[in-house]
């Protein structure tokens, strides 16, 4: 560092010291505004803690609300129905697992006729 640099640094030190010692007063009205904020915030009623939400509501929200839940229920019902009564083109998983070589061929109207609904038509 050269003597000239020392002079520059001394000048900076003096300026910083003057700034530290000579901080101006607060602008008029600032303290009053800050205290008014403090009073307003202090007088606000304390916010009650959020009530714990039931498990069902949180689960429903996680799955996408009533739309998501509706889709899930529809998909579940479709899956159950296909499991009980698979279409002809779909292998019967239950039969395969239990060792049947082939499922029994059924008429496509078997379910309807078995309940006697065809008799109503006379």
């Amino acid at each position: 560092m050269t003597p000239h640099d020392d002079d520059d640094m001394t000048q900076v030190d003096r300026l910083l010291k003057a700034a530290r010692d000579g901080e101006p007063d607060l602008p008029s009205g600032l303290m009053a505004r800050v205290l008014a904020d403090a009073d307003a915030i202090q007088s606000q009623p304390a916010r009650p803690p959020m009530p714990a939400r039931p498990l069902w509501a949180r689960l429903s929200e996680a799955l996408g609300g009533w739309q998501g839940m509706g889709g899930l229920v529809a998909a579940t019902c479709a899956g159950v129905w296909i499991g009980f009564s698979p279409p002809a083109s779909v292998p019967d998983a239950g039969a395969l697992i239990l060792g049947y070589e082939a499922g029994v061929e059924e008429s496509s109207t078997a379910e309807l006729t078995s309940f006697g609904w065809d008799l109503d038509e006379g």
């Binding site: 640094m9 000048q11 003096r14 910083l16 530290r20 901080e23 800050v34 403090a38 009073d39 202090q42």
Partner: protein, 194 residues
Amino acid sequence: MPRDTLSTLSDDALMVLYANGDPAAARALAGRLLPRVFGQARRMLGDDGEAEDVAQEAMVRLWRIAPRWRQGEAQVSTWLYRVCANLCTDRLRKRRHVALDEIAEPEDPVPGVERKMQERSRDDALQGALNALPERQRQAVILRHIEGLANPEIAAVMEISPRAVESLTARGKRALAALLAGKRAELGYDDDTS
């Protein structure tokens, strides 16, 4: 609670009193902290009007956090300096760079107020040089050399290590010296020891 008693309490204790509804606690806290936070904002922004807004906003955040303040985890003043620094950073990012040349030239001295004008022109020169520093250097120099904080506290405010604070303040001061070099005569330091 009597005012004399409040003046002996820590900032932490005053935060608890404020949260419990003691109206005098806010006055005691604001009396201690508002001048510091306003001074920091004024030096960071170089604009009194913006500094007022920032100081008021920082204090609002202090009032709001009081009920949830956890004693002993951080100093109230350190927390507030950090809030103020972040608010200043937000403002500075929205603003264009202000060059040293854009700082208003001091007016011709009027007899009787010459000394006041000299002080004003020195302060303007310092503020212009501070404005020209990179933001982190400016913040470190202001907290260390104008607000008078110790390096560990500045490290907590800026969320950096004390060594990084040392480096920032040293580089900041060197940059200030370079920016103000050649202005010695203009600032009256050639024939003045004040």
